[in-house]
Amino acid sequence: MNATDPKVEPWSPTATWVVRGLGLAAAVAVAATVWLGLWVTPPDQTQHDLVRLVYIHPPIAWVALYLAFGVAAASSVLWLWPRTRSRVWDRLAVSAVEVGTVFTALTLVTGSIWGRPTWGVWWAWDARLTSTALLLVLLLGYLAVRRVPADPDSRARRSAVVALVAAVDVPIVHFSVNWWHTLHQGATVLNANLSPTIHGSMAWTLLLGFVAFTLLFAWMLAIRYRVEVLSELLQDSQLDVALHERWAEGTGPVTGDPGVAPA
């Protein structure tokens, strides 16, 4: 990779178009969710306009707690498994964790905004809130490990182990905190018999919300993946530049091909 090359494209043109399409679809779906959620659907009998949070809070939580964590855990396992080891999985894992951290934080924030008027408190020591908060700390731990300077291979190994160990903890946290205390309402859509407990336009808007935030997640994941590739390329090229400078210090101005190191 030439250090001065201004046009670095980590993707094929087709992939670029696919990602653009994904972004467009996500934007349209989110806009439609906002329109349906704020203007078309009726207010709830007991919760009035507060119920409109149902179109964003569960979809965000779904993305954070299932999609992002699932992708991160699966790609970490794929990296650790010697036969499928590839930097692709490492990049995918860090992208999923980073986007997932944002969505987990948003889950807590939207939940808190909803909790204040309905439960009367910003924060309750409820099972789901507590386990989501713990999950956020685990994700932040992953990102902290990620920031420790190391060569790409041992960084990937270390972060994959962190993701795996944390992922194993998630069901244990889930059960322990559930037994500990619960106040949150049960799952509305993904309940045991898979029959949603809300009806009509509200159900459709909620469904659209799930689609919209899933698309948004996929698009953000792709963009973050691209950033990871670009930053790897940048680091490599910076290494090249630094090497050339050191060689130049030793030999004076470099005239020939700098790829050949003076002995």
Partner: protein, 228 residues
């Protein structure tokens, strides 16, 4: 693997026996934590006895961070970590050995802390069986998870700050389950007749936690050693 386990555990415990760092520094710190909690809660016995199970496990959790740090500090100097890696010992054996050494030290610490809780907070133990089982299972789980993260953080410049950040949230279920099991055993929660079964789901959770992290460590310690 078992021979290597005994070798590594013996090495760590022999160093501890000669240096007495855990016994003379970590155990006093844990007891000190109990005293500090008493200052925080005020001199009344009632709130202390009420909170005793949780305070016990918080003290154990903090002490386990220190014990794990010590366990890996032993190998920080003179390239001992590389020596251990190149020694040809089975990584699973190294993991189990270090875990066993940490667990034994923590178990001794817990005995001291239990006496401290009874003396300082005036708690009455109703069921010795369940506090011993909860203590052993919780200790095994903490030692296993702690050793995994200790190996992960060993050799990094940020290890002192990284270890608690990674380890404490993962160990939170041990705190929860241990506290609940102890509340039943100390007669704070549940009815007198429940002593033998109300703590059971929590004991099971502690056992599952220990089993999961011991198994995970056996599988994953090899690749982890290569990373550091």
């Amino acid at each position: 693997m078992w021979r290597d386990t005994v070798l590594v555990a013996g090495k760590d415990l022999r160093i501890e026996l000669r240096s007495r760092v855990v016994m003379q520094q970590v155990v006093p710190v844990a007891v000190l934590v109990l005293v500090l909690f008493a200052f925080a809660l005020g001199p009344d016995r009632a709130p202390m006895a009420q909170a005793a199970p949780g305070l016990f496990w918080v003290a154990v959790l903090f002490a386990s961070v220190l014990a794990v740090q010590r366990s890996f500090a032993l190998e920080a100097a003179d390239g001992a970590r590389d020596g251990l890696r190149l020694s040809g010992l089975d990584p699973a054996g190294v993991f189990l050995g270090k875990t066993a050494a940490v667990a034994l030290q923590l178990a001794i610490l817990e005995v001291v802390l239990t006496a401290g809780v009874v003396v300082l907070y005036g708690s009455h133990v109703r069921s010795y069986g369940s506090i011993v089982v909860a203590g052993l299972a919780g200790t095994a789980g903490l030692a296993a998870a702690g050793t995994l993260y200790g190996a992960l953080a060993a050799g990094l410049r940020v290890r002192e700050t990284l270890l608690p950040f990674l380890f404490l949230p993962v160990a939170a279920p041990v705190l929860l389950a241990g506290t609940r099991a102890w509340q039943v055993a100390l007669g704070i929660a549940g009815h007198a007749g429940d002593v033998d079964n109300a703590g059971d789901p929590w004991l099971r959770l502690l056992l599952v936690f220990a089993a999961v992290y011991l198994a995970l460590g056996v599988v994953i310690f090899g690749p982890l050693q290569e990373a550091s």
